[in-house]
Symmetry: C2
Subunit: 396 residues, 2 copies
C-alpha cells in the first residue's frame, strides 16, 4: 500500500549495509525519460555525488531516468576516490536498470570525510531494483534518512488543461538546515509534461520561499540537493514558462516544497516547536530577510522558546545586530499574538496572556519595523538539550 | 586584602536589591581626573546607559572620575524612562561622591526590556561609596556579574621611563559573546599618564585581537562596553601615540584584554573547553577572519568538541560556507596537533592519537588554506546541555 507515485514512477529503499540497521539505499525511477531540474549547495566544499550529478545534468537534463541515493556516508572530502565511488554508484544502478549511465543522477548523505564502503552499495543494487514499485515511496523515503525522526512526504494533485497532474515530494533533513539549502535532500516527481526551461524556473522560484526560508542551526551542508523529475505521463499539453498551467504548476511545487521544508524544521534535531518569524514594514525585502534570519538564527531566542520564556528583548536585540537600519523606539514586537513592545514602550501584557506564549507546538514571532512595506517569513525550531546530545557523538 | 588597584583608584561592589542575593551594584572611582576611552556595542538597539555615557564622553573624556554599574537589569528597550533612569544613576553616584555629574559614566547588564527598579540603586549608593577602597576590586568585579560562574581580573605592571605603571582590568560576560563586543562589560584602570588620543588609539587596536576575536553563541548584546580610565598617578612622562612607552602600554593593554576575553570564553554558559581556531595561509586577513569565525560559530562543531568527537568534516564544511574562495582539495585540517585531512586526502590518524583529540580543557583547530600568507585566530568554547538549561528560563 502506501502513497501512490505519479504515473510512470517507481521507487524502493533497502538496507544494504552502510548503516547498522536502518534503510540506507534508495532509488527513484521513471519508466520514461524525464526533464530534470536541480539545485545544489552553495558550500565551496561540495560532495562528490553533487559534482558528478551537476556534470550529468549539464549534458543531459532532458533524459534522466533514475536517482540513486545512499545515506550513512556523505561521500564528501573524499578526493578523487570519492568521485570514482560516485561514478561507480551511477554505473551500478544503470547496469541493474539497463539504462544509460548518463540518465542516472546520484546523492549521498551522512558523515563527511570517510571513504565510501562501496561493497554493500554495489551488491545491494539488484535487490533494490527488483523491489521497485509504484507503492515504493515510503521505503525510498526511509532510505534517505540520517538523524531524522520521521520520513517526509508531500503530494498534490491539480489540473493542467483537461488532464490531472500528480506531484509527489520526499525529503530528508533535521540538523544543519539553513537558507541556501543545508543538509537536506529533496526529490520531487511529477507526471506533468513541462519544458526543461519552465521546470528550472519554477524550481528556482519555489525554492526561495521554501527551503531557503528555513533554518535549524545555521550550519550549511556540503550535500544539499533539490531535484525535480517530470516524465510527461499525465499527457497534458506541455507547460511552458508562463500562463495558467505554469502558475498552477509553480504554486503546487512551492506548496510541496514548503510542506517538506516545514517538516524538516519540525524534525530539527531535538526540536519540539515550529517557529514562524515574520518581519513586516521593512524598507526592503533584503532588510526584512536579514532581520528575520537574525532572529531565527539566535541561539538565545531558540533556547527561550524551548523553555517557554517570552524573552522579547532578545528578539529586538537580534534585529539590532542584523545589520539593518531602523529606529528601536518605533518597532513592535509580538509573540504568539501578544504585544510585548510597541513603539518604544514595553507593553506589559496581563499574566493570563503571558502564560500562553511560546507554550504550543506552533509559535510565532512578529516584528513590525514601520519603515516601509517589505516583508519576509522564516521558519525555524527551538533548541533543546537533545540537540546537543545528538550532535556531540555523531561520528564516534 | 585582594588585588591592589592602580595608584589613586578605589572600588566597591554591594548587593543593593536588584538581584535576589548576589552583588548587583559596583563603583570604580579615581581620586584624580582620568582620561577615558570607550568602545560600545554596534547593535542598533543600544541600552540607555550606553547612549548617556557616549554623550558624557563626547563632551568630557579628559575629566572622568567614576563608573557606576548595575547588574540584574540591562536598562535596554526601556524608552525615555530608561534614559531618565540612567541619568538618575549618574546623578545619585555624583551626589554621593561629591563630584560633577559629567564626570560619571554608567553601565547596566541583565534582562532586556524591563524598566529599572531605581529605589534599591539610589538607596544603596551611600553604602557603596562608603565602602570604596584600594582593596575593593574583587567585590566590584563581583557586582557586575550576571550568569558568570567566576569574576574576571587581569593585571600588569610595566615600566614607562623610570616609573612603574600598573594596569588592572575587570570584565563580565558568559553568554551572547561574539565579535563586535557582545554582552560583555570590561573596565580597565591604569595610573599611566597618557594622552586621550593615544589612549583611544591603543584601545581600538587592543580590542581587535582580544574581544573582537571571541565568540560564544553568535548573539550580539545591546549593552557591551569596554572602558579604560587613566589617571596619570604613576607620574610617568605623558605617553603619546608612538614610541617605546606607547608600544609597551598598547601591548600590556592588549594582554590584559586578551586575558579577560579568554576568561569570558572559558566561562561561556555551560562551556567546559577553550577552543583556539587558527586559519593560516589565507589570501587576505579578511578571508582568514571569515573562515575562523565560520568555524568558531558552528553549533555542530561546538557540539562535537563538547562530546570529544573529532568531526573534522564539519570544520571543513564551515570553511566552505564562510563565503571565501579556496580549493577544498588543497587544504589541511589539524585538530589538537593531529592531521586529519591533508591536501585532498583523509589522513586516517592512528587510534592512539585519535583518542586524545578534543579531550583536554584547551583544544585547537587549525586550517591551512595554502592560498597566501594571511592568518587569523579566534577563541570560542564548546556548547553543552547546560547552555540550554541556563538560557531556557532566563527571564522567568
Amino acid at each position: 500500500m502506501g502513497i501512490k507515485l505519479p504515473k510512470g514512477f517507481l521507487a524502493n529503499g533497502i538496507h544494504c549495509g552502510l548503516k547498522k540497521k536502518r534503510k540506507d539505499l534508495s532509488l527513484f525511477y521513471s519508466e520514461k525519460k524525464c526533464k530534470c531540474a536541480a539545485l545544489f549547495t552553495t558550500n565551496v566544499v561540495k560532495a562528490a555525488p553533487l559534482i558528478l550529478s551537476e556534470q550529468v545534468l549539464k549534458a543531459n537534463d532532458k533524459n534522466i531516468r533514475a536517482i540513486i541515493v545512499n545515506s550513512g556516508n556523505a561521500n564528501c572530502m573524499t578526493g578523487k576516490r570519492g568521485i570514482r565511488d560516485a561514478a561507480k554508484m551511477v554505473k551500478s544502478a544503470a547496469l541493474a536498470l539497463s539504462i544509460p549511465e548518463d540518465s542516472v543522477v546520484v546523492s549521498s548523505t551522512g558523515v563527511i570525510g570517510k571513504p565510501m564502503n562501496m561493497e554493500p552499495v554495489v551488491s545491494g543494487m539488484t535487490e533494490l531494483v527488483r523491489g521497485l514499485s509504484p507503492n515504493g515511496l515510503i521505503p525510498a523515503a526511509e532510505g534517505i534518512l540520517t538523524t531524522d525522526r520521521f520520513y517526509k512526504i508531500s503530494t498534490r494533485v491539480f489540473p493542467a488543461g483537461d488532464k490531472k497532474v500528480t506531484m509527489v515530494g520526499v525529503a530528508k533533513g533535521a540538523g544543519m538546515i539553513e537558507p541556501n539549502m543545508a543538509t537536506m535532500l529533496c526529490y520531487i516527481m511529477t507526471d506533468a509534461a513541462i519544458s526543461a526551461r519552465a521546470l528550472k524556473k519554477a524550481l528556482q522560484l519555489a525554492n526561495k520561499d521554501s527551503f531557503n526560508s528555513i533554518t535549524v542551526d545555521g550550519d550549511m551542508s556540503t550535500n544539499d540537493t533539490v531535484m525535480v523529475l517530470a516524465n510527461g505521463e499525465a499527457g497534458n499539453q506541455t507547460i511552458n514558462g508562463a500562463g495558467k498551467n505554469y502558475k498552477a504548476f509553480q504554486r503546487n511545487l512551492e506548496e510541496v516544497m514548503l510542506d517538506l521544508a516545514k517538516m524538516i524544521v519540525r524534525d530539527g534535531e531535538g526540536a519540539s516547536k515550529l517557529v514562524q518569524v515574520s518581519i513586516r514594514g521593512a524598507k526592503t525585502a533584503l532588510d526584512a530577510r536579514k532581520a528575520a534570519r537574525s532572529i531565527a538564527d539566535s541561539l538565545l531566542t531558540k533556547c527561550a522558546i524551548s523553555g517557554g520564556d517570552p524573552n522579547w528583548g532578545r528578539v529586538a536585540s537580534s534585529v539590532g545586530s542584523s545589520g539593518i537600519k531602523f529606529d528601536p523606539d518605533k518597532i513592535d514586537v509580538i509573540l504568539d499574538g501578544v504585544v510585548f513592545f510597541s513603539r518604544g514602550r514595553a507593553a506589559c501584557p496581563a499574566a493570563g496572556k503571558l502564560k500562553k506564549v511560546f507554550k504550543g507546538k506552533n509559535v510565532s514571532i512578529e516584528v513590525y519595523l514601520h519603515r516601509g512595506d517589505a516583508e519576509a517569513v522564516m521558519y525555524t525550531c527551538d533548541i533543546s538539550k537533545k540537540y546537543i546530545t545528538i550532535n556531540s557523538f555523531y561520528t564516534t
